[in-house]
């Protein structure tokens, strides 16, 4: 039984297939990359995994249990945390309160929740911003807050959506370091990313999609040399010329 498996997942919006018959499996401890051009359906796959959209057809299994059809909050309770591409900080709450709110998932005691939150904040390097309001943070810290909050729910699987987008090169390096650290602490990661440097350095395996369908799957090196992937990213012309 795979740790995580998506079986033939499909999502139609109206008559349009945003995700069409996608299959993939993720083993425990992996960092699994999801790539594809804009609008290829990556974020939709995340929204399907965490139950934000219902599947049109297909099934999703996690830890041997079927999770498709469960509500979003139940899926989080099962141990799948996620971040949003367009960050959704709880604006008028402090960074600490943001994280405490999610830490309450695993404990009912406030003292315990605060302790867990502070620990997670320290792990992600946000301690200096602890008492600031979330809306006052710069974008890099907001992205980091997204991750911190998701981690405080003690997930077994973490879905990271474009964590490095909009960051400067040194911030990107920090983000890579943080993702590695999270993975080393035993959390499996599925990551959607546009910046090739990030995805190629940290992923164990990569799934490339275009127009909602799988075009390649394999190790970073395999995927990078795949013709269809190159074509999808750089256009048909580029492929023809080379």
């Amino acid at each position: 039984m795979a740790f995580f498996e998506a079986k033939n997942i499909t999502k139609f919006f109206g008559g349009l297939a945003a995700v069409n018959g996608v299959n993939f499996r993720v083993e425990q401890g992996q960092t699994y990359g999801l790539i594809g051009p804009n609008g290829s359906g990556k974020t939709t796959i995340f929204n399907l995994i965490n139950g934000y959209f219902p599947l049109t057809t297909g099934e999703i299994y996690f830890g041997g249990r079927k999770i498709s059809g469960l509500k979003t909050y139940r899926i989080c309770q099962e141990g799948i945390g996620r971040t949003f591409q367009v960050v959704k900080p709880l604006k008028r709450m402090t960074v600490l309160d943001n994280v405490v709110a999610s830490a309450f998932l695993r404990t009912r005691s406030k003292r315990e929740a605060v302790r867990l939150a502070e620990e997670t904040i320290a792990f992600c390097g946000l301690t200096a911003h602890k008492d600031k309001l979330a809306k006052s943070l710069p974008i890099a810290s907001r992205k980091r807050l997204e991750i911190t909050r998701a981690l405080a729910t003690k997930p077994k699987l973490l879905l990271l959506d474009e964590t490095a987008a909009g960051l400067n090169p040194s911030e990107v390096d920090e983000a890579i370091r943080l993702i590695r650290k999270i993975n080393e602490s035993g959390i499996t990661i599925i990551i959607v990313e546009h910046i090739m440097k990030v995805i190629m350095t940290i992923s164990d395996r990569i799934l490339a999609i275009n127009h909602g369908m799988v075009i390649a799957e394999g190790t970073p090196a395999e995927v990078a040399s795949n013709h269809e992937v190159v074509a999808a990213y750089l256009g048909e012309d580029y492929d023809a010329q080379s």
Partner: protein, 336 residues
């Protein structure tokens, strides 16, 4: 303890108030303030903290009020039993309503509560065999003096504020605010938003229903226009919450005081000051002015809504830092 010293001092003042001020008129005003503290706190919990704006507080207020009235009118039981029972019945109303209507978001939920408000008002008007319709229901008052009512109202108001204080510091409070700030984020952090919105609504409706039941006992008369009033109850509840400060524990107390004071200043022509002035000076102008000002008390209410939304969107408590700065600025200008 220090952070509560102000609250304890205020409570002490409130406890001796009816002993110090024997005038029934001012006691009556304070009872109204206390009632509004309870209603405002209830509104604030679901709207200010959980972010689900209640446009129909009167639905719960009226159901609480009618529960008390009908107990005495139909069953001959003391209307005081309406307090616990009113809270239970509003709870029982809020639970299915929330379960059904919390699938709606933002303004849609607000409109659904407004519709609930209106539907109850129509039912209370039409179902004459139960509610006596527009004729209303008369309930014998238990006490002649206002003092017992004052202390009961004080008890309910304090209980409401304490409930809000305790709840917002707990797990529930964190969940409520998370839902207000971003429902999708809250849901993906494992918060069952439907359930906690319902929890907030049930708690709120209990406070408002309790206030309604007390209203019946205190006033001794209710009719559908009064207790299910969209303006005088539902909108006033929002106003109390907004004037004081949305999402602050002490906001509704501040808001209730300001609202009752402003309304009464208009209604009574500056607590009778203008009336005295006109009889003292014999000026027909002041007399006419007094008449117009007292007629304009609902107008003042509407103007207050507009003013507060434009200039104090986070209320006196929420915008206190800004307000203080402005006041200091004026004072400095005056001394220069």
């Amino acid at each position: 303890m220090k952070q509560y010293s102000g609250a304890i001092l205020l409570l002490a003042v409130m406890l001796v108030f009816p002993l110090a001020v024997q005038d029934a008129y001012y006691q009556h005003l304070m009872i109204l303030v206390l009632l509004w503290v309870a209603i405002g706190s209830g509104w604030n919990l679901i709207s200010g903290y959980a972010g689900q704006v209640l446009f129909g507080a009167a639905a719960f207020f009226g159901v609480g009020a009618y529960t008390a009235a009908l107990l005495s009118h139909k069953l001959g039981i003391s209307a005081w039993w309406g307090l616990p029972l009113g809270a239970v019945i509003t709870f029982a109303l809020a639970l299915p309503f929330g379960w059904v209507c919390f699938r709606l978001r933002g303004p849609y939920f607000a409109l659904a509560t407004l519709a609930l408000n209106e539907i109850f008002r129509h039912i209370a008007t039409i179902w004459e065999s139960l509610t006596e319709g527009m004729v209303g229901i008369l309930v014998m008052q238990t006490f002649v003096s206002k003092v017992p009512y004052y202390y009961i109202a004080l008890g309910i108001a304090v209980a409401s504020v304490l409930t809000v204080e305790i709840v917002v510091r707990s797990r529930w409070g964190y969940y409520f605010v998370s839902i207000r700030e971003d429902q999708d984020a809250a849901e993906s952090l494992g918060i069952d938003t439907l359930r906690y919105k319902s929890v907030a609504l049930c708690l709120s409706s209990c406070m408002i229903g309790l206030a309604g039941a007390l209203y019946t006992n205190y006033m001794g008369f209710i009719d559908p226009r009064v207790v299910f009033s969209l303006h005088d109850v539902s909108i006033a509840a929002i106003l109390v919450g907004i004037i004081g400060g949305v999402g602050t524990v002490s906001g509704p107390a501040v808001g209730a005081f300001i609202m009752v004071a402003v309304m009464e200043i208009f209604r009574s022509g500056g607590f009778g000051f203008l009336g005295k002035l006109s009889s003292a000076t014999g000026s027909p102008f002041v007399a006419t002015l007094t008449k117009y000002i007292s007629e304009a008390h609902v107008l003042s209410f509407g103007l207050l809504v507009i003013f507060v939304i434009l200039y104090l969107p986070n209320g006196v408590v929420g915008d206190w830092p800004i307000l203080k700065k402005k006041l200091l600025f004026w004072r400095r200008q005056a001394t220069v």
